[in-house]
């Protein structure tokens, strides 16, 4: 594939003859999940019953393990192994790669006495049972030489630097235009540390067979995990067989492996028996990545009729000292609104905290919380409807790069959403609508999320019974991968869904990058389509070259596939008949996708508009979501059911972001204070009342051969800002510090004399 122009050529997915594409089919693996028979990583059947590990984590943010006393633990019942930095077997040096093609370097555990964050692994126990392992772990006594640690983000902005290789992006002359603008806004918005809180904690079951290790682990990226483990164990990556068939939530937090993977593999080797290790909920909070906090400044300059003349979004975020990551909260803004003079950028503070990393819509999820509130504030200053202000500043082309948009239906999302939601009933003056003790208000926000396509491979095999199996080292983290791969494969080969099997989550299968950045469906699906096409070609040649086939002698290019049959003119036969006769061992074909260079010449995004109605309790300041509605444009939809679940799930993350989700660092110890779901509040059933979403009809033929785009991260982008704006419209309290908890709302109400 050399050009995106080639994607305009019809293919089985875009033609969708049997109508499977877009259809709301039930999840492929659904029956296993609703019966509790889908084995997650800690639950797989090992060759013999696994023994169980327990991890001990550090109680300081930075320093050294001065002494560690494991005597009692070692003598504790059932204990098979106790490791500290002194006794753990040799591992690849941190960051090292033996194999230059490894996607991830070595990630050793307890490789020195150094402590780099509160919650880092400092000891590890394996015992015959979990009870014995945990009891022994509790007997380990660690003392530390503590060093001064940078853990207080707002107090450490003086240490901020440009992210490596990055500078502020400037277009025109922002400062001059801002100073000259008749109407301006200059406000700062803050967002806290957030945690993924996947319901399944990280877990691994590992066993060895000679020099080869098999690991079942909960990870979004198959190859990344396989390579990281191989480097850590200092063995060839082919000697690591990594499986991740069912994953209890990822959201970006399982894009990398954690110590459970290395420890289970190392201990299984040492003990010569299967070992399983899971993080506790507390260890998930402390020892896995989080979405870092941000401090964002938005400056907008506009003409009195609402045209933006100066636009800036910049500020601060943080990451771990030796695990660079930037929450790019300003990047999306480079493609959202038109303005001739622009400034965007990030400053990064390196801190002694656990790793910061990607969490559902990294960048957009944080950045839209500021800009989309700022737009609401500016609209009020200008006396414009917030939708009107956004429409006035709709760009013709990407405002920074000048690239054409592949397709941009943001205006339609806003207009159709407004109509459906009853936006015209919103009183622009805040604090005007009461329902009993509740102030009621409406807010809206735009949504944008970049769309990516990565290289991937896939295999498709047909066996003599006519079953077609799609094979790919891809993952399904609840996103619907199994299901959409089955749909794509069935539609491509013209067979019913019941004839298709999907095997994913296995490092032995053709590699795909995994789940993340809402690129999964586009990337894995495009490769699956190509594998299906390659299988069609192979089957066509098989048929036309087989004297016993009714298609014998036909032109392979004119052969078609439908209804489980291979067909030429009025001649046809069942695929199973053909394969059973002519290739009883089955036929296998591999396909791939790699993004053509000219895909970069277009500005590719998904778009949407969020509408929210909230009630604010006039006495307590409590905010309750009452209604929420979203309209989204995300290319062709592969499965109406799973896509909608993805998008409403994202919107609900926006509710948590706006109202409850926050983690705080204890500045004394550098620990995250909220270590469980009793303290870190994610939305529950009672928080989500009336919430719905629709997709606009769309095909984006510049995005990939199927014209689809991602939906997993679009739903959260902007959602929290719509709620923040609704809070203001309800009660007149403008909050700029997320989450908008009752204490903050109440302080605003009191300050306003309400």
């Amino acid at each position: 594939m050399s050009s995106i122009a080639d994607w305009a050529t019809p293919n089985p997915v875009t033609e969708n003859r049997s109508g499977l594409i877009g259809k709301a089919v039930d999840r492929y693996e659904g029956p296993l999940k609703v019966t509790g028979t889908a084995p997650y990583a800690y639950e797989v059947e090992a060759p013999s019953p696994p023994v169980q590990g327990a991890i001990v984590t550090s109680a300081i943010a930075r320093g050294r393990v001065a002494a560690i006393d494991t005597a009692e633990a070692e003598a504790s019942p059932g204990v098979l192994l106790v490791w500290t930095h002194k006794t753990i077997p040799a591992q690849g040096a941190r960051g090292a790669r033996i194999n230059p093609r490894s996607q991830r370097p070595s990630s050793p555990v307890m490789d020195s006495d150094e402590v780099r964050y509160f919650g880092e692994t400092v000891a590890f126990v394996v015992a015959d049972t979990l009870e014995n392992a945990r009891a022994a772990a509790a007997l380990i006594k660690v003392t530390y030489d503590e060093l001064w640690a940078v853990v207080d983000f707002p107090a450490s902005l003086g240490l901020a630097e440009n992210p490596p290789g990055e500078e502020d992006v400037r277009i025109g002359d922002f400062e001059t235009a801002f100073a000259a603008a008749p109407v301006t806004l200059d406000e700062t918005y803050t967002s806290p540390i957030q945690n993924h809180v996947q319901m399944e904690p990280c877990a691994t079951t590992a066993w060895w067979d000679g020099d080869k290790v098999t690991v079942h682990t909960s990870i979004q990226m198959v190859k990344g995990g396989q390579h990281a483990l191989a480097e850590t164990l200092m063995i060839p990556s082919d000697d690591v067989h990594l499986l991740t068939r069912y994953i209890g939530g990822g959201f970006g937090g399982k894009g990398q492996s954690y110590d459970d993977l290395s420890l289970a593999a190392l201990a299984a080797r040492e003990l010569k028996r299967p070992v399983k290790v899971a993080y506790t909920r507390q260890q998930m909070m402390l020892g896995t990545i989080h979405r870092p906090a941000t401090i964002q400044r938005v400056r907008l300059g506009a003409t009195p009729d609402g045209r933006l003349t100066a636009f800036a979004l910049d500020g601060y975020t943080h990451c771990a000292r030796d695990a660079l990551f930037t929450e790019h909260f300003a990047n999306f803004a480079r493609s959202l609104y038109a303005a001739p003079n622009r400034l965007t950028g990030h400053k990064l503070v390196k801190m002694d905290l656990p790793g910061a990393g990607p969490m559902r819509a990294p960048g957009e999820a944080s950045g839209m919380l500021s800009l989309e509130v700022a737009m609401d504030e500016l609209a009020e200053k200008l006396g414009l409807d917030p939708i009107q202000l956004r429409l006035i500043n709709e760009p013709e082309r990407d405002p920074e790069t000048g690239k054409p948009f592949s397709i941009r239906q943001l205006a339609r999302c806003m207009n159709e959403g407004a109509q459906h939601f009853g936006w015209d009933r919103r009183n622009p003056k805040p604090g005007q609508v009461r329902d009993g003790r509740w102030w009621v208000g409406m807010g809206m926000a735009a949504a944008i999320r970049a769309d990516y396509l990565l290289p991937a491979k896939a295999g498709a095999r047909i066996t003599a019974d006519g079953t077609i199996t799609l094979l790919q080292g891809m993952t399904d983290i609840g996103t619907g991968t199994y299901t959409i791969l089955a749909q794509i494969t069935a539609e491509t080969l013209g067979v019913p869904l019941s004839q298709v099997r999907v095997e994913i989550g296995d490092s032995n299968l053709p590699p795909a990058p995994g789940s993340g950045g809402q690129f999964g469906a586009s990337t894995a699906g495009s490769a699956a389509l190509d594998a299906g096409m390659k299988l069609r070609v192979a089957l066509a040649h098989l048929a036309v070259g087989d004297p016993n086939s009714p298609l014998y002698g036909a032109s392979p290019d004119l052969v078609t596939f439908d209804d489980g049959k291979i067909r030429f003119g009025n001649q046809s036969e069942d695929l199973s008949t053909l394969v059973a006769r002519a290739a009883p061992e089955g036929v296998y074909a591999e396909g791939s996708i790699s993004p053509p260079a000219d895909r970069r010449d277009v500005s590719l995004h998904t778009y949407g508009a969020h509408f929210a109605e909230v009630g604010v309790d006039m006495d307590t300041g409590e905010v309750r979501m009452r209604r929420m509605y979203g309209v989204f444009a995300a290319g062709r939809i592969l499965n109406a059911k799973t896509a909608k679940s993805q998008i409403t799930g994202g919107m609900i993350w926006g509710v948590g972001t706006a109202l409850t989700e926050t983690n705080s660092v204890d500045p004394r110890y550098g620990s995250l204070i909220n270590q469980d779901v009793g303290g870190y509040l994610v939305p529950v059933h009672a928080d989500i009342v009336d919430l719905d979403a629709v997709f606009l009809d769309e095909v984006d033929d510049k995005a990939n051969p199927m014209g689809i785009k991602g939906v997993g991260e679009l739903g959260i982008s902007g959602a929290g800002a719509a709620i923040a704006n609704a809070i203001y419209n309800a009660c007149g309290v403008r909050l700029r510090d997320y989450p908008m908890t009752p204490d903050k709302v109440l302080a605003g109400l009191i300050a306003a004399g309400l």
Binding site: E29, T35, P201, I688
Partner: protein, 168 residues
Amino acid sequence: MKTTMTVNGQASTLDLDPRTTLLDALREHLNLKGSKKGCDHGQCGACTVLVNGVRINSCLSLAVMHDGDAVTTIEGLGVVGALHPLQEAFLKQDAFQCGYCTPGQICSAAGMLKELADNWPSQETADLTAAIVATDAEIRERMSGNICRCSAYPQILAAIRDVVGAVA
């Protein structure tokens, strides 16, 4: 300690470490891995099972406390090919994504339906003397001990609604 429980209709006698939670007894000793461990602290509901017909967080309960009890897990509600109506409805309404909270949601919903039928009030119940109506608000309130981080809440409500039937 010897403990005898009837699990999904079958009597089993286990010799357990008294520290073993009911959840770990099910998962590690009875090979019933459908009940999930999300927090081990009674905060998420992933481990919900029915004990003598009442839903509990099995991670918060020691197995040895259940001598003589009848435990129903997700495996006891239905199996592939013979799904419980709630399992059927969850599948149809796409009331799950990653599936990790799902067995707990379904067991919890099963327990909740019985609580409704038995007229147990909740915080949402306005009139304690009248028969309880399974409004959406009642269902949401009663299901709020089961966290779904994938946030399939609208779909879970729709699935439970399918089973409960519409209310006026």
